[in-house]
Amino acid sequence: MADDRSSQLIILFFVFVVLLNAPILQIFDRKELWFGMPALYFYLFFIWLVLIVVVGLIVRKKRK
């Protein structure tokens, strides 16, 4: 259903707006290396990738 998708995408938007903005972002603003990468660098790119994958999955769902 197209409507389901729209709602999911709107929710996704707000979730990621929160995740990628202050103050949530400040939690990860640390002088540490995670998996050999700066924590913030890792966090931003990881969330970014998650967003791409989730959006991809939502729009790839076949319509019935």
Binding site: F16, P23, L40, V55
Partner: protein, 916 residues
């Protein structure tokens, strides 16, 4: 590296772009769309990544750490909403044939010319700095490649003058040739899109190549690079916001600015909306485009860290992408990187300049020229050629402005700082676009006010101080506030300090812009056209069947189309239009036939001229679609075309009235003619009736006069009696004519009293006795002793009896005349019947005889008797007595008239009287 090599490679690359564009356009002409592909669509969207991304992000990272990512996370965040928002904008734009963001905003608020101009001004002035950084980056790149660590660089002024100017000229030429090769009414340039998509691949590959070279060639992967970075104070600072001095607030604002920019930047709107071939490409672009952004950003921080660690301040961080390979001897990689950056800059300039030139020519130059009547509209070819010249002129103008900006102001700032000034300007369009999409109540006045306020604050807070810093204008207002008012400092409005200028300007301009827009909208009334457009924009899905505008095929019954046209254009114009169509298409239209899409469009276009494009579309959809148009939509159309509809309705009503009046007039005329004829007949009859007694009177009185001595007494008496009788006859006739007038006024009968019908009848018969005897007519009344009480006027009732008696007398058999009067009573009615033995009354005449002026003419009967008023008067009198009259007749066997009057019991009458 030699300059000629760099220029040669650049030219070769540009030639390749031309080749791609030429090939794609060629295919498009043959009907094969190469760019109608979601991946190409997503790649073309990557025109977002410019020289700013390619060179500037690295430079930005050295001072602002990861903050450069905000510019790409904003568009990424918006991507999920494309499914609704971008699709909606595309549907509206295709529906409205919108060619730019200025057109979009102008169209939304009632196709406002003012808004078109305002948005164009904001876009052109706002984007000029953005173009300037592309010029600067290319110039920068050439300089780096040719003079890296050579130490022989000429003095800055002279060098920049030459190189920057020629880069500008080259770019202007390239863009002018590339972006304006042909004039497309929909502003679709498939070749351009294909070239841009190709350039996106080039950008990504060359940047990634540099990134991989740095990360895995110079260092041993991410871990090694980042670990080393943490060991140095200056590079460690770049790894967190806190240490790089980025406040959470400015990050949030940056994300918001870029979130708006991805849709509002003129080139982004152009590529994602105007050049869009199908909204079906959106879902794929929603994840492919963010993925592209992610990939092109992975190596920004590593390159920046590496550059920072390897170079001192003599190497500008904006050139690290080129400097690092050059430093490590990878000259070919550096050249490839330059081509990537060159690619990023050219794609941005070409698309941006094309988009801006469309706006500039459509919203400013062409309206101006039309007003000056300098475009020959009669010559289409010349007109189109002229339009293209105007476009080229606009491009040249904008690049020249950008060059001036770069030379005077831009040179003192880094790429990203200047680019963000443009982002802030583009963001001023956000309230009116988002409000326009979802808030119906937003008005034209609100949009104008919001945009102007936002633009003024933006100009005051960003470009003006930078111009002051460059020494172009006096800088006192920066330190002391405008007019010395401390609340009006461009970097500290209302006394708020501690925020970087971009965030500061973006915050205040957008906040006040939005407020103004909302408050003015709420307090103004939208125009009818604005309302219609608002509904169309906000509720676009109602107006479009399906989501595929490009395969949208509309069909409608020709009869329906005709009636729609009739309603708005009138029958004459409708007929002329359809005839035109038949002539052009060489077809014959039939009422019940289904009209194909081209006829539907033809009708819509012509209707648009009368009621506006949007309304025309809705009206046509109402007959072209299967589902019935909703009441709300109808109300909207009515709002706009209310006057037209009212007018046509009034016309229809008037038409109906006229038809009615004509009918009534025709009827009246027939009646008048009939009446006229009747009156003429009446006059003839009355004249004859008058002449006859006058003849007798004249002749006999002359005899008496002439022969008075010869006439015996008996004769003299007879003649005198005749004269008296004939005089009575004349009086009677005159009285009858006068009676007509009294009866016409329908006054109630005066002097009503209790009467005895038998007595009245006998009295009347006695009065006629002499005439009856003279004519040798036998007259009987039966019975003579019946009591028949009636209530009425004695004289009038006598007149009734006399009239009927004279009538019978006139028509009686000339030889053996016989009249029988029959009286009777039944139930509460009294009956007075009178039968003659004349020729009778033909069936068709039985009702006519009671009409005034009607007389029976026939060969057998010859001369009509009486005035034609007798029976009419009789009937009227009877009706005034609440009675009725009827006639029976068998032709050849006489006529029988019967009068029925209500029985009036004297006692009842008394009782009734007492009741009051």
């Amino acid at each position: 590296m030699s300059l000629s090599l760099v220029i040669g490679c650049s030219l070769a690359y540009i030639s390749l772009l031309f080749l791609i564009a030429w090939w794609v356009d060629k295919r498009a002409e043959r009907g094969v769309s190469v760019v109608n592909n979601p991946y190409i669509y997503a790649l073309s969207l990557a025109v977002y990544c410019t020289a700013w991304t390619f060179f500037g992000s690295v430079g930005r990272a050295t001072t602002g750490g990861l903050s450069f990512l905000g510019v790409y996370l904003g568009p990424t965040l918006l991507a999920p909403l494309w499914y609704m928002m971008l699709r909606k904008i595309i549907l509206i734009s295709k529906n409205q044939r919108i060619t730019s963001i200025a057109d979009f905003i102008s169209s939304r608020y009632g196709k406002s010319t003012t808004l078109g101009v305002i948005v164009t001004v904001i876009a052109v002035l706002g984007i000029v700095p953005y173009i300037s950084i592309q010029l600067k980056a290319v110039t920068f790149g050439i300089n780096t490649l040719t003079h890296f660590r050579s130490g022989t660089a000429p003095g800055p002024t002279a060098f920049w003058l030459d190189s920057g100017f020629w880069v500008t000229v080259a770019m202007a030429t390239f863009t002018g040739v590339f972006g304006t090769r042909k004039l497309d009414p929909n502003e679709r340039h498939e070749g351009l899109v294909a070239a841009v998509a190709f350039e996106s691949i080039v950008k990504l590959i060359s940047f990634s190549a540099v990134g991989l070279f740095v990360t895995f060639g110079i260092y041993n992967g991410f871990g090694d690079l980042f670990t080393q970075a943490t060991l140095r104070e200056d590079t460690a600072k770049m790894l967190t916001f806190e240490s790089s001095g980025i406040t959470p607030f400015s990050w949030n604002v940056l994300v918001m600015l870029s979130l708006f920019a991805i849709i509002l930047l003129p080139r982004q709107f152009h590529i994602s909306v105007v050049e869009n071939t199908s909204p079906r490409h959106i879902p794929k672009a929603m994840w492919v485009f963010p993925l592209y952004l992610l990939l092109i950003n992975i190596f920004v921080l590593p390159i920046a860290l590496a550059g920072k660690m390897m170079f001192d301040a003599s190497i500008h961080p904006d050139t690290y992408v080129l400097s690092l390979p050059l430093e490590k001897g990878a000259a070919w990689l550096a050249l490839a990187a330059f081509i990537g950056g060159f690619s990023a800059a050219t794609s941005m300039i070409v698309v941006e300049a094309t988009a801006l030139s469309i706006m500039f020519s459509n919203h400013i130059l062409v309206p101006l020229l039309i007003r000056m009547r300098s475009i020959g509209s009669n010559n289409l070819v010349n007109g189109a050629a002229r339009l293209l010249d105007i476009r080229r002129l606009s491009i040249l103008l904008m690049l020249f402005l950008a060059y001036l900006y770069q030379k005077s102001v831009g040179s003192t700032y880094d790429l990203v700082s200047v680019g963000l000034i443009s982002f802030t300007a583009a963001a001023q369009l956000a309230p009116v676009v988002i409000g326009g999409l979802y808030w119906k109540r937003a008005t034209h006045q609100g949009a104008v006010a919001g945009l102007i306020v936002g633009f003024v604050i933006w100009a005051f807070c960003l470009p003006l101080p930078s111009m002051a810093q460059a020494g172009i204008i006096s800088g006192t207002f920066v330190k002391e506030g405008l007019f010395g008012i401390s609340f009006l400092k461009p970097y500290a409005l209302f006394g708020v300090t501690g925020i970087d200028p971009i965030t500061h300007a973006a915050f205040w301009s957008l906040l006040i812009n939005t407020w103004t827009y909302a408050i003015v909208s709420v307090n103004t009334q939208p125009s009818m056209l604005s309302l219609t457009q608002a509904d169309l924009f906000v509720n676009i899905h109602k107006y479009i069947s399906g989501h595929e505008y490009d395969i949208l095929k509309r069909e409608a019954k020709i009869g329906d189309l005709k009636s729609v046209l009739n309603r708005y254009l009138g029958e004459t114009r409708t007929l002329a239009l359809l005839n035109d169509y038949q002539a052009i298409s060489r077809t014959v239209l039939e009422e019940q036939q289904t009209a194909q899409a081209d006829l539907v469009s033809f009708v819509e276009t012509n209707l648009a001229g009368a009621i506006g494009a949007a309304s025309a579309r809705v009206v046509i959809d109402s007959v072209a679609k299967e589902e019935p148009i909703s009441l709300d939509e109808v109300m909207r159309i009515l709002d706009q075309t209310r006057e037209a509809v009212q007018h046509s309705r009034i016309m229809e009503e008037k038409n109906e009235e006229l038809k009615m009046l004509t009918l009534q007039l025709t009827n009246a005329n027939v009646q008048l003619k009939q009446l006229d004829r009747l009156k003429a007949d009446f006059i003839t009859t009355v004249t004859h009736e008058l002449r006859t007694p006058v003849t007798s009177i004249k002749s006999l009185s002359k005899i008496i006069l002439d022969d008075h001595d010869r006439l015996d007494d008996e004769r003299r008496t007879t003649y005198l009696q005749i004269i008296v009788n004939e005089s009575d006859r004349i009086s009677r006739l005159i009285n009858q004519v006068l009676d007509i007038e009294k009866l016409r006024s329908e006054e109630p009968v005066q002097q009503m009293e209790q009467l005895e019908l038998t007595e009245i009848v006998l009295h009347a018969v006695a009065g006629m006795q002499q005439l009856l005897t003279e004519r040798n007519i036998q007259c009987s009344v039966t019975p003579t002793d019946l009591e028949l009480p009636v209530y009425g006027n004695r004289d009038k009732l006598i007149q009734v009896v006399v009239n009927l008696l004279s009538n019978a007398l006139k028509f009686c058999d000339p030889q053996k005349g016989r009249i029988d009067i029959l009286l009777r009573q039944k139930d509460k009615f009294v009956f007075f019947g009178i039968r003659d033995n004349g020729p009778g009354i033909p069936v068709q005449a039985r009702q006519l005889i009671f009409e005034q002026f009607t007389q029976l003419h026939s060969k057998e009967q010859g001369k009509p008797h009486g005035t034609g008023l007798g029976l009419y008067i009789t009937k009227k009198i009877v009706e005034q007595h609440q009675g009725s009259i009827r006639v029976e007749s068998e032709p050849g066997h006489g006529a029988f008239f019967e009068i029925i009057l209500p029985l009036s019991e004297p006692s009842n009458r008394v009782l009734e009287k007492n009741a009051y």
